[in-house]
Amino acid sequence: MTSKLISLSEAARRFAWDGMQYASGAALPVGSDAVIFGRELLRQKHKDLHAIFHCNSQQLNLLAAAGAVTKAECGFSALEVFGFANGLRRAVENGQLALEDYSNLSMALRFLGGALNWPFVPATVNIGSDLQDRSAFAPDDYPARSKIPAVVDPFTGREFGALKPLRPDLAAIQVTLADPTGNAIMLGTEWSRYELSRAAKKVVLIADAIVDPACIRQFPNLVRIPDIIVEAVVHWPFAAWPQGSPGMYDIDESHMAFMNMALATEEGTAAYLREFVESYDDLDSYLDLIGRDKAKALSQGSSSFLLDPYRRWILPPEDVAGLAAPELAA
């Protein structure tokens, strides 16, 4: 297969549009999420997004704070130990964003159901609670039977719930390693990136590093996303920053807190966008923004040994540049 390596801006130009169902956050709130793709969506002024985030992450927090999201579906909408997601919270509280609540399992099940193209997914969770009875998307429907309607088990006659499968228009999935055609390895929990990669109509990979295909053939059991379902590969180290990517870099604790604080207000968000979204021109200036020393320190975390078996196959930046998909280069 031919190389699918394209630039970040090209990926957003080709695959994103206003109003799309956009999925990311198939990673946990502080972990492997393609936060950089959210920054790019804002640089390209996308709006009216319908965000499908298994969990909120700094990406959704940022997109919501900037007013780019009108609908969102989530299992968890905070930032774990970093507290409430101030940007998302503000957008929900002021009514600008309708947030449909599910749980962390039901979001995964909805990706599973989308991947299988099922009409519905049986639910033994979320039922009997306001997750079933209340819908932000259909506020007048109470109990909200359009959200998680009842389904009767034909074996016992008992009533359970039926979840609506998810088939997002676009998923930007952060992975640790990918080869140029889009075979990807994730280190750390998949959360629901595997199911999402099959549920989404189009998948763009955002990879911390590009590896030689020989790495893929040595570890096919680690290749949980095969190239045949991938549209494009973007090489972008520290794509999850300030979040962490196990094996690659740790969480940037101070920027996590700083960013969330900024997103709590409109003014803070405007400043954040100026300084950390619109400010860089390329990967180099992005890494300068993080700070080269800090980036280096974050790369030497306690999980970096997880990357050791694959290091020798990681391609240096100049080789990656040479592999850009020919029809799109220049």
Partner: protein, 264 residues
């Protein structure tokens, strides 16, 4: 001896929660307090605890302090298996296999229903509207509440958090009490305890209304009732919960390296 030991209310709550967890159990913890209580149990009296996080991280113990999340390096650096949410919350929790979970609450009611979704000004009403204060949402707690054999609710004991009925049920406890969980055919058994900064509440057999089961050395029945938003009844076998032993405190603090629980 209590003064001598000098422990915080949060530490007492974490230790009391940890004591509920038995050796060999399959257990799921969330980030923060819940994880501290769980790993305290493992360090203290449950060395064969089989613990997991919602993300499908198995065999890990925190390294270098309290993890920032359930997949950060502090929990990812010594795992034996990484899988997924579907695996941990689905195959192992919603299936009914998991023995015990620990969840938090912004608001809890007398039947153990938990709200972590939002605070409204009064009832929501028939037309759904955004909360005045948006909270983190259900996360994996709803799945634990539906599927785990039992679960423990950890919550700071304040009147505003203890309601006759939560405004929004994020995670089902005993719903309207009695056997009202039964109509949903949950495989999970429901909350076995509400453990707070002041004491321990347990469901009364039959009604499944939470009643006071124990107080701490630094609290008492009256203080607890005054801080509970419903007319809290006292179980006939309510008693003083033993203070942490020096060993328990040492084991807790080994886990809580950064002193998150000592701050208050």
């Amino acid at each position: 001896m209590s003064a001598a030991l000098d422990y915080s209310r949060q530490e007492m709550m974490a230790i009391a929660t940890g004591r509920e967890i038995r050796d060999g159990e399959l257990a799921i913890f969330g980030v923060g307090l819940s994880m501290l209580a769980g790993f305290f149990a493992q360090a203290n009296h449950a060395p064969n605890l089989r613990s997991m996080t919602e993300g499908g991280v198995y065999g890990a113990t925190p390294v270098g302090g309290l993890p920032w999340g359930i997949e950060c390096n502090r929990i990812s650096s010594n795992a034996t298996s990484f899988t997924s949410a579907l695996d941990a919350l689905g195959f192992l929790v919603a299936s009914g296999r998991c023995d015990v979970g620990v969840i938090g609450a912004a608001q809890v009611d007398k039947h153990g229903n938990v709200n972590t979704t939002g605070i409204w000004d009064g009832e929501i009403g028939p037309h759904y509207r955004p909360p005045k204060t948006r909270l983190p949402g259900a996360g994996g707690a709803n799945d634990i509440a539906c599927g785990a054999k039992r679960y423990i609710i950890m919550v700071t004991h304040e009147p505003k958090r203890f309601a006759e009925r939560v405004t929004y049920v994020s995670s089902p406890g005993y719903l309207d009490g009695g056997d009202s969980r039964a109509r949903h055919h949950f495989v999970g058994g429901g909350p076995s305890a509400i453990i707070t900064t002041l004491g321990i509440l347990r469901p009364e057999p039959g009604t499944n209304e939470f009643v006071l089961n124990g107080w701490f050395a630094f609290s008492g029945i009256e203080e607890i009732r005054a801080n509970t938003g419903w007319n809290l009844r006292v179980s006939p076998d309510a008693r003083l919960i033993p203070e942490p032993t020096a060993e328990e405190l040492a084991n807790l603090r080994k886990v809580d390296q950064t002193g998150a629980l000592r701050k208050k």
